[in-house]
Amino acid sequence: MWRPISLIKYLTCTHALHSVLLALAFFGAVHRSAAQDTPLLSGGVGFLTSTNGGNTTYTPIIEPLIAAPIGKHVLIESRAALLESFFPKQNGESGYDHSHFAGFTYLQADYVVSHHLTIVGGDYLLPFNTYNERLSPVWIGNFQDGPLVASLGLLSSGTGLGGMLRGNAIARSKYSIDYAWFFSAASTNEQFTAQRATGGRTSLYLPQQRLEIGLSYDRRLQDTQENFYGMHVWWEPKDTAFRLRSEYARGHHAQGYWIEADYRIQAFGGLDSFIGRFEPVFRMQQTFRRDNIVSDGLPLVDTQRADFGLDYNLPHNTRILTSYARQFSSTGDRNIWETGIVYRFLFPAWKGK
């Protein structure tokens, strides 16, 4: 989802970020009176390393997020990613090379009509399955890289450019149903790349069982039109710090799934004790090629991968992420070692009285 860019494009992106900041400052100044509605700056700063097949890559990254309410019904929000990647030179040369990545992850305006309907316009994250919208921020994910199947249904860029309707269709004490439906136009703008597509997601949540089941669908409406189907199941047993998340996605040419479980031990002084801050994580994933036509980001051959992670939740919103993965495929098995440290920040856009 990140796109490599040149220095000029990088500066263009920075300029765009400045424009957004100025606009938010203006809107914020207009609506400064709302005591709890001050625009916020959030996001994550991290330093990640990944050793894949013996090659180590170092990646400092920052993902800022801005959210600014305007009046009682509007919210402007945006997330961007800026990173520098240092990796070994190819063709037997010694030393390291590097590349820039920078760009908006999304930039959208939300108009809250009611609790059942919010109208979203702009460049938004596609609501297909759960990873893209919920787990992709660097300060949220338990692993520093996403699942192999995460790109399926995300139409290359992971974002849509156009409109989306979403909200809570039914809310009862024992269950709730929410939905999201989008239509995206085609765009080749370097910061807001999107394909002409439509689709959506609906989820059933059972709060007593802490169980969520959802279905996703989208259809590319340009070039070779394709359908993508998705399903997710999340379960978080009550009074535990255990979480189980899973997704399945199917396209015309490939399909796959992932299951992730994480747990924090509470028996030795609670979550904030030395022991309680450890978070073992396990993820299993498989992808399957249905034919040799490549129109998605999945591996070219059937692939299995098991990730074993151990995260540590430091005080002050800082996490250490470590993991080892073994990937199996007919093109060769490989080990992937990953470590990183991520700090999450969250504060008002300006100092208050």
Binding site: Q36, A67, I140, P237, I259, Y263, F328
Partner: protein, 108 residues
């Protein structure tokens, strides 16, 4: 194919072991220090029974609707609590009741 079956079996076994371990050792989750930094005035009202009930409800909703995806931040300015709730209202499709309860939880 046998490898994928082996991995699938390993996944299932690990999942079952973790689930059974968790279920056999269930202990109430301690309340996280989520809410915004309390103002002096707000802390004076914490003994009120209704307020306590609201806090429990807000805490429960925060656990189910927000912490489901991400760890709770270790506190934030009350000046952005409304912005956070509005962001979550859209992102997590909160109902009116949930939005109000979480906002009260942030600003007791």
């Amino acid at each position: 194919m046998s490898l994928s079956r082996l991995l699938s079996a390993a996944t299932l076994t690990c999942s079952l072991v973790m689930i059974s371990f968790v279920l056999s050792a269930q202990t109430p989750a301690p309340k996280k220090s989520v809410p915004a930094k309390k103002s002096d005035a707000a802390t004076q009202d914490s003994s009120n029974a209704q307020s306590s009930s609201d806090q429990d409800e807000g805490d429960r909703l925060f656990q189910t609707r927000c912490s489901r995806c991400h760890n709770a931040p270790e506190g934030f300015s009350p000046r952005i609590s409304g912005t956070i709730v509005r962001h979550m209202r859209i992102r997590a499709s909160l109902s009116q009741h949930e939005e109000e309860a979480i906002l009260r939880f942030f600003n007791p």
